[in-house]
């Protein structure tokens, strides 16, 4: 305690009496001094520090308090106790084609999507955190014209988000090389964000993608390279793409990064965790090593790798990062000027707290517009034969006899399945990945029409919505027989009826029915689906003999 204030506290009661008398004479000066003291002394209370210190990013621009609080509570708060970092490395990857989360059960119940990712990066930038955004690869997970268009749209999104480096995944490189090159190439003076040490698009010397890259953020120099694992390379059967084994290909970029004097070095390894660890052991200079092939959700904290012990230098901590699947999370590494805690990590759920980014919504609308323009035929969707070999009749035909069941269906969500796609912004009714569960006559998990299935509202209006035949099977032959359009023996008529009948009376029969439901009510689109809960909402059946009587009236 200072010698100036000590005498007052020796006799506190006396001091108060003295001050009361004294204050009358020097009141104005006292008030001024009190105010000054109150303002210049530091604010010691811990909670006050939280109020006054710049808050870590916790929500996207324009997101309400209520939404932010809801999703903080649901999926956890982020960046708690983080001071401002010198820079952050933001890792994403394995988007697997989930350019946006499925809205089937409420988009707010799903994580991921480029729009939220854009807003999340925007929130980091708004907090003035220097960001280095890095993506492991595998933007898509399928093959065909729609996937090519989606890949191009996603890459446009990554470029707009100013990714510093993006690796390739094996599914990216299964696309025609012409499409990959068109999407990833440099545009004018803007270099491609793609980096890969062991893949050369149209040869390693084509100059389309570099082997490594060095970027600067917050005064730190970050070196980055990327590879595909040997098993992943084996998946690529594309003569226009040159490849090398990962361990061999890393020699050159590792040497270049070592020479570049980087503060941190990142290896994006699209490989199994086992192969990634081997690469990390062989190239210990990389202090952040990202792997593919982990579980759907990344762990809360990255795994520690053995530290790098270079001669004459203190050991350097190293980490193995898993990113999860479907772009549901970003993993953020904070780099701090703090000897006690130089690195912090945060798994960030990309949920509704980050809101939607207008630019990415426009990009999604452009993607949907391309699908609409090309149409199902332009997208190369060739109908395949239904496993039964039969054709579809449409739900209205079923209604001619199965009136009671049709009424239940009419009042169910199934009857509005296509309408929900038509009324979204942007519309999704040109998107085969959505259509496959919203119309009659498609293979839901293959995103492909069956012969005689829905091919557009104009061509096949009777097959719009999620109709009867998706569960019961194609009914055109049955309907023709019942109407008398085709004369069939009674036994065949009964067989056709029986083929469409679904029973729940044995565990095996119930399992067959449930398996059919799961074709659409899968983990992605209906995560809470439980047959026993959902079935009562669509439970239907006819009074014995009612359908047969109605059929007799048709003839």
């Amino acid at each position: 305690m200072s010698s100036l204030v000590r005498p007052l506290f020796r006799r506190p009661l006396l001091s108060l009496a003295r001050m009361a008398a004294w204050a009358g004479r020097r009141g104005a000066a006292t008030i001024l001094a009190v105010l000054v003291g109150g303002s210049v002394l530091p604010d010691w209370a811990p909670s006050a520090r939280a109020d006054e210190a710049p808050a870590g990013p916790s929500r996207g621009a324009g997101v309400s308090d209520e939404t932010a609080a809801t999703f903080q509570k649901r999926n956890g708060a982020v960046f708690q106790g983080w001071p401002k970092p010198k820079a952050v490395l933001v890792f994403t990857g394995e988007l697997d084609g989930y350019i946006e989360p499925c809205g089937c059960t409420g988009k707010e119940n799903q994580k991921g999507g480029l729009s939220r990712r854009r807003n999340f990066l925007g929130a980091l930038a708004a907090a003035e955190w220097p960001v280095v955004a890095l993506d492991l690869g595998d933007q898509v997970n399928r093959f065909g014209r729609q996937t090519e268009i989606k890949f191009g749209s996603i890459v446009d999104g990554l470029k707009a988000m100013q990714y510093a480096a993006v690796g390739f995944g094996p599914k990216d490189l299964r696309l025609p090389a012409e499409e990959v090159v068109a999407a990833v190439s440099a545009v004018g003076d803007t270099p491609t964000p793609f980096v890969c040490a062991n893949v050369g698009l149209i040869g390693f010397d084509s100059g389309i993608t570099p082997l490594h890259r060095v970027v600067e953020a917050g005064g730190l120099k970050i070196g980055i390279t990327a590879v595909l694992g040997d098993a992943e390379l084996a998946e690529i059967r594309n003569d226009l793409i040159a490849t090398k084994p990962a361990a061999e290909a890393l020699v050159e970029p590792a040497a270049a990064l070592a020479r570049a004097g980087c503060d941190h070095q990142v290896l994006l390894a699209f490989a199994t965790p086992e192969e990634t660890k081997k690469l990390a052991a062989r190239y210990p200079q990389f202090d952040f090593v990202v792997t593919a092939g982990g579980a759907e959700e990344p762990p809360a904290q990255p795994e520690k790798l053995p530290p790098h012990r270079a001669a004459g230098n203190p050991p350097v901590d190293r980490h193995l990062l898993e990113l999860g699947h479907k772009g549901m999370f970003a993993v953020v590494i904070g780099l701090f000027d703090d000897a006690a805690q130089p690195i912090r990590s945060q798994r960030v759920p990309l949920d509704a707290r980050w809101g939607e980014a207008e630019g990415m919504i426009r990009l999604l609308a452009g993607y949907q517009a391309q699908l609409e323009t090309l149409g199902l035929t332009g997208l190369g969707l060739t109908p395949s034969r239904h496993p039964t070999g039969r054709r579809f009749a449409g739900s209205a035909t079923c209604a001619e006899c199965h009136k009671s069941s049709f009424e239940v269906w009419t009042n169910s969500g199934h009857a509005n399945a296509l309408t929900t796609l038509e009324t979204q912004t942007p519309r999704r009714d040109g998107d085969p990945e959505c259509l496959s569960c919203h119309v009659v006559g498609w293979a839901p998990q293959k995103f492909q029409p069956y012969e005689g299935g829905f091919m557009g509202v104009k061509a096949t209006p009777h097959l719009a919505q999620q109709g009867c035949e998706n569960c019961h099977g194609p009914a055109a032959a049955h309907a023709s027989a019942e109407r008398g359009q085709v004369r069939v023996p009674a036994a065949d008529r009964e067989r056709l009826r029986a083929e469409l009948h679904l029973a729940l009376d044995t565990p095996q029969a119930k399992q067959r029915v449930m398996n059919n439901c799961l074709e659409c009510h899968d983990l992605d689109n209906s995560p809470q689906f439980d047959f026993d809960t959902y079935w009562p909402q669509v439970e239907h059946g006819e009074e014995p003999g009612a359908a047969a009587a109605a059929a007799a009236a048709l003839e």
Partner: protein
């Protein structure tokens, strides 16, 4: 009493000290009257007062590995939460990750069963995490529990494991990116099974008769080494496919159905996807394959532009290909063909095409409309079946 006014320095010091107390006090008061909000909590900064009763959550285990699970099987694990403090502990069930079923708290030592529970000192509750293995592969699911223990306001319980399916094709879809129309491309898929008995192939079929015109296929048992390399697998079948000559140019999607006796009959399925392409192709920034046009856009005539694309040649005649520029529209566009080089294993030759609109070029419009037809680059290729290659170019030169 003799009262004397303090000296001037003392007055200033007291005033500053009082002001400081006010400065500290205000936020302290705010902090004590405002509820805690997530994102602000700083356990490190918290000092417990001696003698004040507080709850203390004790969750000795927060992570559990189910190991290997069969597809469709269900596993449950009980996590225990107890109150080691001396005030009631309130625990609230928070979010679960996608599709993990979490029980309400079970009343182990009295109390109600719901999403919230008050544990007396020494009390104990259980939280059950249930996972049904719907699809094969690794999984990690979690459930969050919020507490009123200021030192541990949130606990995340995690279950993880690996689901093995009845069968799995690796790859499930054989993707052959660029198939020559002459066919001859071979590939394979390995079907792994996980039951007690190794599989027997009962029948191999295709959904339509067309598939067998363009694809041949054979099956054979997988080697013991290959089976051992797949986690949990007990048997397997190798499916070899070959694309035959005459397959039409365009997208290809065919399915092979393999009925396996395990001993019950299970139908496995392998899809073959790809694109059958011609021998000559173009690749590079601006190539729009949907419209089959090279998009250069609107170029400033003052600065001009320069870009590079590649012509690729494959197939039996690739070595005969030597592109030569025959015609260019607009005339101001300069096109230079570079030296051919093999790509990768040499199955493809590539030729760089450098396209330049020189600075000072005259304005023109070849964006591709009825009023402004697209420009073009016409090349003599040397390929015996496709001697000429015409590349439509969408370009306009402004002032």
């Amino acid at each position: 009493m003799d009262v004397r006014a303090p000296g001037s320095w003392s007055v200033v010091a007291v005033a500053v000290a009082v002001g400081g107390l006010v400065g500290v006090g205000n936020p302290l008061l705010r902090a004590s009257t405002r509820p805690w909000r997530l994102g602000e909590f700083d356990p490190a900064g918290l000092q417990m007062q001696e003698g004040v009763a507080v709850p203390k959550v004790d969750a000795p285990s927060t992570q559990y590995a189910f190991g290997t699970m069969a597809e469709g099987a269900e596993e449950t694990h009980k996590f225990v939460i107890s109150n080691a403090g001396d005030a009631p502990l309130k625990i609230t069930r928070g979010a679960t990750s996608c599709s993990c079923t979490v029980s309400d708290f079970e009343a182990v030592e009295g109390g109600e069963t719901d999403g919230e529970k008050l544990l007396p000192p020494g009390g104990r509750a259980e939280l059950r995490l249930k996972w049904r293995g719907k699809t094969g592969g690794a999984f990690r699911q979690q459930a969050t529990v919020f507490t009123n223990d200021p030192r541990r306001p949130e606990i995340v319980f995690v279950v993880e494991g690996f689901v093995v399916p009845v069968w799995k094709a690796e790859p499930k879809s054989i993707v052959l990116t660029s198939i020559p129309s002459q066919g001859g491309v071979k590939a394979s898929s390995r079907i792994f099974t996980y039951g007690k008995e190794p599989p027997t192939v009962k029948e191999v079929s295709t959904p339509d008769s067309e598939t067998s015109q363009f694809v041949s296929f054979t099956t054979a048992p997988l080697s013991a080494e290959e089976i051992a390399g797949e986690r949990g697998a007990t048997g397997g079948v190798l499916v070899d496919v070959e694309i035959l000559a005459g397959v039409p140019i365009g997208p290809l999607r065919k399915t092979i159905l393999i009925d396996l006796l395990l001993p019950e009959i299970v139908r496995a399925e392998v899809t073959i996807e790809g694109t059958v392409a011609g021998d000559l192709a173009l690749a590079g920034q601006g190539w729009d394959s949907s419209r089959q046009v090279l998009q250069l856009g609107t170029i400033s005539g003052r600065t001009g532009t320069n870009t590079q694309v590649f012509i690729t040649a494959k197939g039996a005649h690739r070595d005969a290909v030597h592109p030569v520029v025959r015609d260019v529209v607009p005339a101001s566009m300069q096109v230079a063909v570079g030296e051919g080089k093999p790509v990768g294993s040499g199955a493809v030759m590539r030729f760089p095409l450098t396209i330049t609109i020189p600075a000072g070029s005259a304005p023109c419009n070849h964006l591709g409309s009825s009023q402004a037809p697209a420009g073009r680059i016409v090349l003599d290729t040397g390929h015996p079946d496709s001697p000429t290659m015409t590349i439509p170019v969408s370009v306009a030169v402004g002032p």
